[in-house]
Protein backbone atom coordinates (compact mmCIF):
# COMPACT_ATOMS: atom_id res chain seq x y z
CA UNK A 1 0.00 0.00 0.00
CA UNK A 2 1.08 3.57 -0.60
CA UNK A 3 2.06 5.85 2.23
CA UNK A 4 -0.69 7.47 4.22
CA UNK A 5 -1.32 11.11 5.10
CA UNK A 6 -1.98 12.49 8.59
CA UNK A 7 -5.08 14.72 8.42
CA UNK A 8 -5.40 17.93 10.41
CA UNK A 9 -8.44 18.40 12.65
CA UNK A 10 -10.08 20.54 9.99
CA UNK A 11 -9.46 17.86 7.39
CA UNK A 12 -10.98 15.25 9.67
CA UNK A 13 -14.07 17.41 10.00
CA UNK A 14 -14.33 18.11 6.26
CA UNK A 15 -13.64 14.55 5.16
CA UNK A 16 -16.32 13.19 7.45
CA UNK A 17 -18.69 16.01 6.50
CA UNK A 18 -18.39 14.88 2.90
CA UNK A 19 -19.04 11.24 3.85
CA UNK A 20 -22.13 12.32 5.80
CA UNK A 21 -23.57 14.50 3.08
CA UNK A 22 -22.90 12.08 0.22
CA UNK A 23 -24.00 9.03 2.14
CA UNK A 24 -27.50 8.38 0.94
CA UNK A 25 -28.86 5.16 2.40
CA UNK A 26 -25.95 4.82 4.86
CA UNK A 27 -22.46 6.27 4.89
CA UNK A 28 -20.30 3.15 5.13
CA UNK A 29 -19.32 3.03 1.46
CA UNK A 30 -18.51 6.73 1.21
CA UNK A 31 -16.54 6.82 4.44
CA UNK A 32 -14.28 4.04 3.15
CA UNK A 33 -13.84 5.68 -0.21
CA UNK A 34 -12.89 9.05 1.27
CA UNK A 35 -10.64 7.76 4.04
CA UNK A 36 -8.84 5.05 2.08
CA UNK A 37 -8.90 6.02 -1.59
CA UNK A 38 -9.37 9.75 -1.78
CA UNK A 39 -7.49 11.17 1.23
CA UNK A 40 -5.31 8.18 2.18
CA UNK A 41 -5.53 8.63 5.93
CA UNK A 42 -5.45 4.87 6.42
CA UNK A 43 -4.60 1.86 4.30
CA UNK A 44 -7.39 -0.51 3.27
CA UNK A 45 -6.26 -2.95 5.89
CA UNK A 46 -6.05 -0.42 8.71
CA UNK A 47 -9.50 0.86 7.87
CA UNK A 48 -10.97 -2.64 7.81
CA UNK A 49 -9.49 -3.26 11.27
CA UNK A 50 -10.98 -0.09 12.72
CA UNK A 51 -14.34 -0.78 11.11
CA UNK A 52 -14.26 -4.37 12.36
CA UNK A 53 -13.75 -3.10 15.89
CA UNK A 54 -16.54 -0.55 15.34
CA UNK A 55 -18.83 -3.41 14.40
CA UNK A 56 -18.13 -5.35 17.57
CA UNK A 57 -18.90 -2.30 19.70
CA UNK A 58 -22.51 -1.28 20.25
CA UNK A 59 -23.95 1.72 18.43
CA UNK A 60 -23.45 3.03 14.91
CA UNK A 61 -20.51 1.28 13.19
CA UNK A 62 -19.31 4.18 11.09
CA UNK A 63 -19.82 6.57 14.02
CA UNK A 64 -17.67 4.34 16.21
CA UNK A 65 -15.02 4.22 13.49
CA UNK A 66 -15.09 8.04 13.29
CA UNK A 67 -14.43 8.27 17.02
CA UNK A 68 -11.51 5.85 16.78
CA UNK A 69 -9.96 7.34 13.64
CA UNK A 70 -10.25 10.86 15.06
CA UNK A 71 -8.60 9.71 18.25
CA UNK A 72 -5.79 7.98 16.41
CA UNK A 73 -4.68 11.25 14.81
CA UNK A 74 -5.62 13.94 17.34
CA UNK A 75 -6.95 12.40 20.54
CA UNK A 76 -10.24 13.62 21.92
CA UNK A 77 -10.39 16.79 19.75
CA UNK A 78 -9.90 14.57 16.72
CA UNK A 79 -12.77 12.31 17.76
CA UNK A 80 -15.01 15.32 18.25
CA UNK A 81 -14.07 16.86 14.88
CA UNK A 82 -14.70 13.63 12.96
CA UNK A 83 -17.99 12.98 14.78
CA UNK A 84 -19.25 16.54 14.36
CA UNK A 85 -18.39 16.45 10.67
CA UNK A 86 -20.25 13.18 10.19
CA UNK A 87 -23.51 14.32 11.79
CA UNK A 88 -23.87 18.07 11.36
CA UNK A 89 -24.61 18.29 7.63
CA UNK A 90 -27.18 15.47 7.55
CA UNK A 91 -28.83 16.85 10.70
CA UNK A 92 -29.42 20.19 8.99
CA UNK A 93 -30.96 18.49 5.96
CA UNK A 94 -33.09 16.38 8.25
CA UNK A 95 -34.42 19.48 10.00
CA UNK A 96 -35.41 20.97 6.65
CA UNK A 97 -37.22 17.76 5.72
CA UNK A 98 -38.92 17.70 9.11
CA UNK A 99 -40.13 21.27 8.62
CA UNK A 100 -41.50 20.29 5.23
CA UNK A 101 -43.22 17.23 6.67
CA UNK A 102 -44.61 19.31 9.54
CA UNK A 103 -46.10 21.82 7.12
CA UNK A 104 -47.41 19.46 4.46
CA UNK A 105 -47.63 16.01 6.11
CA UNK A 106 -51.37 16.39 6.63
CA UNK A 107 -52.04 17.24 3.00
CA UNK A 108 -53.62 14.01 1.68
CA UNK A 109 -51.43 13.70 -1.42
CA UNK A 110 -48.21 14.29 0.54
CA UNK A 111 -49.44 11.84 3.16
CA UNK A 112 -49.97 9.23 0.45
CA UNK A 113 -46.53 9.94 -0.98
CA UNK A 114 -44.95 9.51 2.46
CA UNK A 115 -46.89 6.28 2.89
CA UNK A 116 -45.33 4.96 -0.29
CA UNK A 117 -41.84 5.95 0.84
CA UNK A 118 -42.47 4.35 4.23
CA UNK A 119 -43.49 1.05 2.62
CA UNK A 120 -40.35 1.13 0.48
CA UNK A 121 -38.15 2.02 3.47
CA UNK A 122 -39.55 -0.98 5.35
CA UNK A 123 -38.51 -3.14 2.41
CA UNK A 124 -35.06 -1.55 2.43
CA UNK A 125 -34.52 -2.66 6.02
CA UNK A 126 -35.80 -6.19 5.34
CA UNK A 127 -33.69 -6.44 2.18
CA UNK A 128 -30.60 -5.31 4.10
CA UNK A 129 -31.18 -8.00 6.71
CA UNK A 130 -31.60 -10.71 4.05
CA UNK A 131 -28.52 -9.51 2.17
CA UNK A 132 -26.38 -9.44 5.32
CA UNK A 133 -27.73 -12.80 6.42
CA UNK A 134 -27.09 -14.53 3.11
CA UNK A 135 -23.52 -13.19 2.92
CA UNK A 136 -22.67 -14.56 6.35
CA UNK A 137 -22.94 -18.20 5.23
CA UNK A 138 -23.78 -18.89 8.85
CA UNK A 139 -23.88 -22.41 10.28
CA UNK A 140 -27.38 -23.74 11.16
CA UNK A 141 -27.23 -22.88 14.86
CA UNK A 142 -26.39 -19.28 14.02
CA UNK A 143 -29.27 -19.04 11.54
CA UNK A 144 -31.57 -20.39 14.24
CA UNK A 145 -30.19 -17.84 16.71
CA UNK A 146 -30.79 -14.96 14.32
CA UNK A 147 -34.34 -16.09 13.59
CA UNK A 148 -34.98 -16.56 17.30
CA UNK A 149 -33.81 -12.98 17.94
CA UNK A 150 -36.10 -11.74 15.16
CA UNK A 151 -39.09 -13.64 16.54
CA UNK A 152 -38.38 -12.50 20.10
CA UNK A 153 -38.19 -8.88 19.01
CA UNK A 154 -41.06 -8.78 16.53
CA UNK A 155 -43.46 -11.47 17.63
CA UNK A 156 -43.10 -11.65 21.40
CA UNK A 157 -42.06 -7.98 21.80
CA UNK A 158 -39.24 -8.95 24.18
CA UNK A 159 -37.23 -5.91 25.36
CA UNK A 160 -33.90 -5.53 23.58
CA UNK A 161 -31.71 -5.82 26.71
CA UNK A 162 -33.18 -9.25 27.44
CA UNK A 163 -32.57 -10.40 23.88
CA UNK A 164 -28.99 -9.17 23.76
CA UNK A 165 -28.07 -10.38 27.24
CA UNK A 166 -29.90 -13.67 26.75
CA UNK A 167 -28.93 -14.65 23.22
CA UNK A 168 -25.64 -12.71 22.90
CA UNK A 169 -23.61 -15.02 25.16
CA UNK A 170 -25.10 -18.07 23.40
CA UNK A 171 -24.01 -16.66 20.04
CA UNK A 172 -20.52 -15.82 21.28
CA UNK A 173 -20.19 -19.29 22.79
CA UNK A 174 -21.24 -20.94 19.52
CA UNK A 175 -18.86 -18.78 17.50
CA UNK A 176 -16.04 -19.53 19.91
CA UNK A 177 -16.66 -23.30 19.66
CA UNK A 178 -16.71 -23.07 15.86
CA UNK A 179 -13.35 -21.33 15.69
CA UNK A 180 -11.58 -23.54 18.21
CA UNK A 181 -11.00 -26.58 15.96
CA UNK A 182 -9.34 -24.29 13.39
CA UNK A 183 -7.04 -22.84 16.02
CA UNK A 184 -5.94 -26.34 17.01
CA UNK A 185 -4.42 -27.05 13.59
Amino acid sequence: MNETVVPTRGELFLGYAKAGLFGFGGVAAWARRIIVEERRWLTEREYAEVLGLGQVLPGPNVGNAAVMIGRRFHGLPGSLCATAGLYIGPLCILLLLAAFYDAYGQVPRIGALMQGIAAAAAGMVIGTAIKMGSRLKAPPEMVALGLLAAAAAFWWRVPLPLIVLGLGPVGIFCAWRRQRPEAAH
Binding site: L21, G23, F24, V56, G59, G127, A149, G171, A175
Partner: protein, 171 residues
Protein backbone atom coordinates in the same frame (compact mmCIF):
# COMPACT_ATOMS: atom_id res chain seq x y z
CA UNK B 1 -40.05 14.10 28.26
CA UNK B 2 -36.66 15.38 27.10
CA UNK B 3 -34.94 13.55 29.94
CA UNK B 4 -37.05 10.48 29.18
CA UNK B 5 -35.83 10.53 25.59
CA UNK B 6 -32.23 10.74 26.74
CA UNK B 7 -32.66 7.82 29.13
CA UNK B 8 -34.41 5.62 26.55
CA UNK B 9 -31.75 6.16 23.90
CA UNK B 10 -28.82 6.03 26.29
CA UNK B 11 -30.01 2.64 27.48
CA UNK B 12 -30.42 1.45 23.90
CA UNK B 13 -27.03 2.87 22.86
CA UNK B 14 -24.92 0.35 24.73
CA UNK B 15 -26.92 -2.69 23.63
CA UNK B 16 -27.47 -1.71 19.99
CA UNK B 17 -25.45 -4.60 18.60
CA UNK B 18 -24.32 -4.17 15.04
CA UNK B 19 -25.58 -0.64 14.52
CA UNK B 20 -28.60 1.56 14.96
CA UNK B 21 -30.99 -0.23 12.61
CA UNK B 22 -30.90 -3.32 14.78
CA UNK B 23 -32.53 -1.35 17.61
CA UNK B 24 -35.38 -0.05 15.45
CA UNK B 25 -37.80 -2.62 16.81
CA UNK B 26 -36.91 -1.63 20.38
CA UNK B 27 -37.29 2.07 19.58
CA UNK B 28 -40.77 1.34 18.22
CA UNK B 29 -41.58 -0.64 21.35
CA UNK B 30 -40.49 2.23 23.60
CA UNK B 31 -41.78 5.29 21.73
CA UNK B 32 -44.98 3.90 20.20
CA UNK B 33 -46.11 0.99 22.38
CA UNK B 34 -44.93 1.97 25.86
CA UNK B 35 -44.99 5.77 25.89
CA UNK B 36 -47.40 6.56 23.06
CA UNK B 37 -45.25 9.53 22.09
CA UNK B 38 -45.61 8.66 18.40
CA UNK B 39 -48.32 6.80 16.51
CA UNK B 40 -47.53 3.97 14.12
CA UNK B 41 -47.99 6.05 11.02
CA UNK B 42 -45.76 8.91 12.15
CA UNK B 43 -43.08 6.48 13.30
CA UNK B 44 -42.97 4.81 9.90
CA UNK B 45 -43.00 8.07 7.99
CA UNK B 46 -40.32 9.76 10.09
CA UNK B 47 -38.09 6.74 9.64
CA UNK B 48 -38.70 6.90 5.90
CA UNK B 49 -37.86 10.60 5.89
CA UNK B 50 -34.54 9.85 7.60
CA UNK B 51 -33.79 7.16 5.03
CA UNK B 52 -34.45 9.61 2.21
CA UNK B 53 -31.89 12.05 3.67
CA UNK B 54 -28.15 11.45 3.45
CA UNK B 55 -26.11 10.53 6.51
CA UNK B 56 -25.79 7.74 9.05
CA UNK B 57 -28.95 5.69 9.66
CA UNK B 58 -28.76 6.49 13.35
CA UNK B 59 -30.09 9.98 12.60
CA UNK B 60 -33.64 8.60 12.45
CA UNK B 61 -33.32 8.74 16.24
CA UNK B 62 -32.65 12.50 16.08
CA UNK B 63 -35.76 12.96 13.97
CA UNK B 64 -37.95 11.00 16.41
CA UNK B 65 -36.61 13.19 19.24
CA UNK B 66 -37.25 16.37 17.27
CA UNK B 67 -40.79 15.35 16.49
CA UNK B 68 -41.59 14.49 20.10
CA UNK B 69 -39.95 17.43 21.90
CA UNK B 70 -38.50 19.90 19.39
CA UNK B 71 -34.84 20.88 19.35
CA UNK B 72 -34.24 19.86 23.01
CA UNK B 73 -35.70 16.47 22.09
CA UNK B 74 -33.40 16.24 19.11
CA UNK B 75 -30.37 17.07 21.26
CA UNK B 76 -31.41 14.65 24.02
CA UNK B 77 -32.06 11.68 21.77
CA UNK B 78 -28.98 12.23 19.61
CA UNK B 79 -26.73 12.64 22.65
CA UNK B 80 -28.37 9.65 24.32
CA UNK B 81 -27.73 7.43 21.32
CA UNK B 82 -24.19 8.65 20.59
CA UNK B 83 -22.53 9.46 23.93
CA UNK B 84 -22.40 6.09 25.69
CA UNK B 85 -21.40 4.15 22.57
CA UNK B 86 -19.00 6.91 21.49
CA UNK B 87 -17.31 6.99 24.89
CA UNK B 88 -16.85 3.24 24.79
CA UNK B 89 -15.46 3.45 21.25
CA UNK B 90 -13.04 6.16 22.37
CA UNK B 91 -11.57 4.04 25.11
CA UNK B 92 -11.53 0.83 23.13
CA UNK B 93 -9.91 2.77 20.28
CA UNK B 94 -6.89 3.21 22.50
CA UNK B 95 -6.57 -0.56 22.72
CA UNK B 96 -7.16 -1.16 19.02
CA UNK B 97 -3.60 -2.17 18.25
CA UNK B 98 -3.52 -4.72 21.05
CA UNK B 99 -6.98 -6.08 20.26
CA UNK B 100 -6.61 -6.59 16.54
CA UNK B 101 -7.04 -10.14 15.36
CA UNK B 102 -7.65 -11.35 18.91
CA UNK B 103 -9.61 -14.64 18.87
CA UNK B 104 -12.02 -13.38 21.54
CA UNK B 105 -12.85 -10.38 19.38
CA UNK B 106 -13.54 -12.69 16.45
CA UNK B 107 -15.84 -14.84 18.56
CA UNK B 108 -17.72 -11.80 19.90
CA UNK B 109 -18.20 -10.45 16.40
CA UNK B 110 -19.13 -13.85 14.96
CA UNK B 111 -21.60 -14.44 17.76
CA UNK B 112 -23.29 -11.04 17.67
CA UNK B 113 -23.64 -10.53 13.92
CA UNK B 114 -26.40 -13.17 13.50
CA UNK B 115 -28.22 -11.50 16.38
CA UNK B 116 -27.89 -8.10 14.74
CA UNK B 117 -29.22 -9.47 11.44
CA UNK B 118 -32.22 -10.98 13.22
CA UNK B 119 -32.92 -7.71 15.01
CA UNK B 120 -32.68 -5.70 11.79
CA UNK B 121 -35.14 -8.12 10.22
CA UNK B 122 -37.52 -7.61 13.16
CA UNK B 123 -37.28 -3.83 12.75
CA UNK B 124 -38.07 -4.14 9.05
CA UNK B 125 -41.07 -6.38 9.70
CA UNK B 126 -42.35 -3.95 12.34
CA UNK B 127 -42.15 -1.15 9.78
CA UNK B 128 -43.78 -3.31 7.12
CA UNK B 129 -46.67 -4.09 9.48
CA UNK B 130 -47.03 -0.35 10.11
CA UNK B 131 -47.15 0.37 6.39
CA UNK B 132 -49.55 -2.50 5.73
CA UNK B 133 -51.95 -1.12 8.32
CA UNK B 134 -52.83 1.56 5.78
CA UNK B 135 -53.72 -0.91 3.07
CA UNK B 136 -52.52 -4.44 2.38
CA UNK B 137 -51.41 -3.40 -1.09
CA UNK B 138 -48.35 -1.75 0.42
CA UNK B 139 -46.93 -5.16 1.26
CA UNK B 140 -46.27 -5.49 -2.47
CA UNK B 141 -44.17 -2.32 -2.45
CA UNK B 142 -42.31 -3.48 0.64
CA UNK B 143 -41.60 -6.88 -0.93
CA UNK B 144 -40.42 -5.30 -4.18
CA UNK B 145 -38.11 -2.96 -2.28
CA UNK B 146 -36.73 -5.80 -0.15
CA UNK B 147 -35.99 -7.90 -3.24
CA UNK B 148 -34.37 -4.91 -4.98
CA UNK B 149 -32.02 -4.18 -2.08
CA UNK B 150 -31.23 -7.85 -1.62
CA UNK B 151 -30.60 -8.80 -5.25
CA UNK B 152 -29.13 -5.65 -6.80
CA UNK B 153 -26.43 -3.17 -5.95
CA UNK B 154 -28.28 -0.10 -7.19
CA UNK B 155 -28.92 2.69 -4.74
CA UNK B 156 -31.98 1.94 -2.56
CA UNK B 157 -33.05 5.54 -3.21
CA UNK B 158 -34.63 4.26 -6.45
CA UNK B 159 -37.05 2.26 -4.38
CA UNK B 160 -37.92 5.23 -2.16
CA UNK B 161 -38.65 7.24 -5.31
CA UNK B 162 -40.70 4.36 -6.69
CA UNK B 163 -42.70 4.25 -3.44
CA UNK B 164 -43.27 8.00 -3.60
CA UNK B 165 -44.59 7.82 -7.16
CA UNK B 166 -46.80 4.86 -6.33
CA UNK B 167 -48.12 6.71 -3.28
CA UNK B 168 -49.01 9.71 -5.42
CA UNK B 169 -50.78 7.56 -8.01
CA UNK B 170 -52.75 5.50 -5.50
CA UNK B 171 -53.41 8.34 -3.06
Amino acid sequence: MVWGLFVIFASISLIAVGGATSSLNEIHRQLVENRHWLDDRTFGQLFALAQAAPGPNVLAVSLFGYWIAGLPGLAASTAGMLLPAGTLAFFVGGLAQRLKGHPALKAINGGLVPLAVGLILAGGVTLAATAAAHGWGWIGMTALSAAFVWRTNFSPLWMLACGAVLGLIIG
